[in-house]
Symmetry: C2
Subunit: 198 residues, 2 copies
């Protein structure tokens, strides 16, 4: 394989995309350079802008280029209901699959003491301040149903209890060990409607 030169470097860098192996990276590079240079330029420029401008929402920690994300800034959302998720992508998935009208709080991970991920890394101090000072009445715990996701939900449930806030766990239909990302939207809608207080 001749992977020296700019074309080889492009193919190499395309492999930083998840799920893209050497053959796919080759196909992508040739496609962009032969058939869609305009699209490729727009992609590269948007990616640079996104890297520079997209940070975390100051309230819910999801990815946004604004100080406050669109959901947190929307006065029509019910701020008494906060859904806890592991990843910003989970927010998108839930928005697409369900009719949830509350706010979110994004952990950017799950408790994993062995990897050095504790409550501080997940922003739980910030969540606790919100529990103490805002009008939150219920936390919907939508962490993944893996062992660590369940432990994280349990831990945050305890925080809620401490602040006399109700906590519920999405439950029905999410298969054990499953990641939200790979669940069909019907199942996820069902799981939301079937959440139970913990």
């Amino acid at each position: 394989m001749r992977d020296t030169g700019l074309l080889g470097r492009l193919i190499q860098h395309l492999r930083c995309l998840p799920g893209v192996g050497p053959k796919t990276a080759q196909r992508m590079a040739f496609h962009l350079l032969q058939k869609d240079r305009e699209g490729a330029r727009a992609l590269a420029e948007t990616l640079l802008q996104a890297i520079d401008r997209i940070g975390q929402c100051s309230r819910c920690r999801t990815l946004t280029e604004k100080p406050l994300c669109d959901i947190c800034a929307d006065p029509a959302r019910d701020s008494s209901l906060v859904c806890i998720v592991e990843n910003p992508s989970d927010v998108w998935i839930i928005e697409q699959a369900t009719v949830f009208k509350g706010l979110y709080f994004v952990l950017h991970g799950r408790l994993s003491p062995l990897d050095g991920i504790g409550p501080g890394e997940l922003g739980l101090d910030q969540l606790e301040r919100q529990l103490a000072t805002s009008d939150i009445k219920e936390l919907v715990l939508a962490t993944n149903s893996t062992v660590e996701g369940e432990a994280t939900a349990f831990f945050i449930g305890e925080l809620a209890r401490k602040h006399h806030v109700q906590a519920s766990r999405i439950a029905h239909g999410v298969p054990m060990g499953g990641e939200l990302e790979f669940i069909d939207s019907g199942t996820l809608l069902h799981a939301f409607n079937g959440r139970r207080t913990i």
Copy 2:
């Protein structure tokens, strides 16, 4: 789906990559922004450089950032043997799969009169000048074995005959209707060794 904003635009632009649908684009965007901003920046910058600098080799028309590609510039390659392929990616595939030591000529397509793709679009005037003026002894026709690929090979075979240059067609093992890109390297090696004069 909230696809306004920079994040939504990034997801949209990622879909210009071949084989990337909305879900994969979402996953890619979140992965880059959450876990690999450094890789994302390198990818974006390399892509912009590639768009600006990569053009066609003046001799074989493959993609390269130099006036003459590495293969054409390599004095160890046998310039009496020229392999005709439809796409620059085919050059890579053949280089990886076979022991071919000649040069290439890249058509960037195949004859398709209904789509307005004639000999001029494929650079066949340039190929004919090379047939007339250089030391080419054999053209190896490695266009895809689709109807249009076969017609293109036949047409170029006639050009070769006109200039008293031998033409051979890779044959054994490439399934009818198959694209080179999706053929395993063993089959392709066999097809090269089993090429026949046409």
